[in-house]
């Protein structure tokens, strides 16, 4: 029996937070790559050292709210699904809104430390289908008529 990644007190906090903040269902598609040779059960895989932890973390989160729906896909086995969302790296989190619509929100890698709260905030925004951006920022964004891709590189802190 492995130790949970989310501690008991954080679990209670998140349960309440999700209950208060989630409006619609939010869907998380997690793409991983399972190493055939790895033993599973939390064993790090040489191919994707953080994939099993990402699966465990996501499953633990799923248990904290009925509104959080999780699908785990294997990049090798679910090629069509990966192609649909343009995923070619693992682990990748794709976050969909309550209508199942993809807004291009991605999280690459295990959201550890402070980055976990970034993922949580993304889930809450997506569930409510609204961001906490200032009105002038929203106005600027609405005026954009060309495809823009923003990548934010972080490290766990």
């Amino acid at each position: 029996m492995r130790m949970p990644l989310i501690q008991e007190k954080d679990r209670e906090y998140l349960k309440k937070l999700f209950a208060d903040e989630f409006k619609g269902d939010v869907q998380v598609l997690l793409f991983t790559r399972q190493d055939e040779k790895a033993g599973g059960d939390g064993e790090p895989s040489g191919d994707c050292p953080y994939c099993q932890a990402a699966v465990d973390l996501t499953r633990e989160m799923e248990g904290l709210s009925d509104k959080l729906k999780v699908e785990v896909h294997d990049l090798n086995k679910d090629g069509a699904e990966a192609a649909k969302y343009g995923v070619d790296k693992v682990p990748t989190f794709v976050i969909l809104d309550p209508k199942g619509h993809d807004h291009g929100v991605r999280f690459y890698g295990l959201p550890a430390g402070m980055e976990f709260s970034v993922l949580i905030a993304d889930l809450m925004d997506m569930s409510k289908e609204q961001t906490r951006l200032a009105e002038p920022t929203k106005d600027s964004l609405k005026g954009i008529d060309k495809d823009v891709n923003i990548e934010v590189f972080v490290t766990p802190t």
Binding site: G104, L133, K146, N149
Partner: protein
Amino acid sequence: MESEKVKSSVVEASEFPEWSQENDVYAVPKVVIRQGDKKVEFEGAYPEKMFIQQVMKALEG
């Protein structure tokens, strides 16, 4: 989410060393904004107003 044209990703740099190297990530947070062939990049956590200015810069010309 506010624009169908804008896609955004958070990348754990330490797990994707090649991707980070391609984008000259030496300090975090590092932000790379792409529009076609145009690329605007900066290091540090910018306030929202300055962040959107950088996004709009990528759209100029």
